[in-house]
């Protein structure tokens, strides 16, 4: 199982986290994201309008990063602090 974490506007829509099962042992962060988009039109339309970063176990990675069982996958919309 993989924990997907959502922040900022994405958390308003998806909640803070969801647990998903890996579809294969070569599934990437981008593939998991696409599966979540397929299940939720609102999420899909939010991602179409924004550029997210992905962090796996607290390190920023590319969408091509292969995910392992037990990983935390964080979906990070554009930052705005200060």
């Amino acid at each position: 199982m993989v924990t997907v974490l959502f922040f900022g506007p994405l958390a308003d829509l998806m909640g803070r986290e969801r647990t998903v099962a890996l579809a294969s042992d070569r599934e990437t962060a981008g593939m998991i994201l696409r599966r979540l988009e397929d299940e939720n039109e609102l999420f899909q339309s939010m991602l179409a309008k924004t550029r997210v970063k992905i962090a796996v176990n607290n390190q920023i990675v590319s969408a091509a990063c292969v995910i392992s069982d037990g990983d935390d996958v964080a979906i990070l919309p554009p930052f705005s602090g200060g």
Binding site: G8, D12, N58, S80, G82
Partner: protein, 147 residues
């Protein structure tokens, strides 16, 4: 030092402690950001979301990089998370250096980073509803000055 504070803090007590521990400093620059009652938006509060652990890690990495880049004696960031009311401090940055140019530049640099590159998410809560804020084009331009 990075701290994410989930309740109101006293920026002056924090700066006072920072100055006491910055041995050898001749120059301390600080910035305090307060929640403004934006006239057009009728802002009543901000809500700041963060990724506990990751947000501190990333800001701390940038603080350490800033200390090296500007040859600082020390630097501090304290940022509110959760609900912050109009008039309250939302962020304080302090930098200590031997001379003033480095202290000023580093403080400015850290604020530009926090506005557009630190893992924080800011929602405006106003009389007319809520709205997540993205950095302005000015914020991105400010950040690009350091490249």
């Amino acid at each position: 030092m990075i701290d994410l504070a989930d309740r109101a803090f006293d920026p002056h007590a924090l700066v006072s402690r920072f100055v006491r521990t910055a041995q050898g400093a001749g120059a301390i620059a600080t910035f305090i950001g307060l929640v403004r009652k934006d006239g057009a938006q009728h802002v009543e509060a901000l809500y700041l979301d963060c990724f506990p652990g990751f947000t501190e890690q990333e800001i701390d990495r940038t603080i350490q990089r800033t200390i090296r880049k500007f040859e600082l004696i020390d630097a501090m960031v304290v940022h509110r998370v959760g609900m912050v009311s109009v008039g309250e401090p939302v962020v304080i940055v302090a930098t200590a250096a031997e001379h003033r140019r480095a202290a000023f530049a580093a403080c400015d640099f850290l604020m530009d980073y926090l506005k557009s590159e630190a893992p924080l998410w800011k929602k405006q809560i106003g009389r007319d509803g809520e709205q997540w804020i993205e950095p302005t084009s000015q914020d991105y331009e400010d950040r690009a000055r350091w490249r």
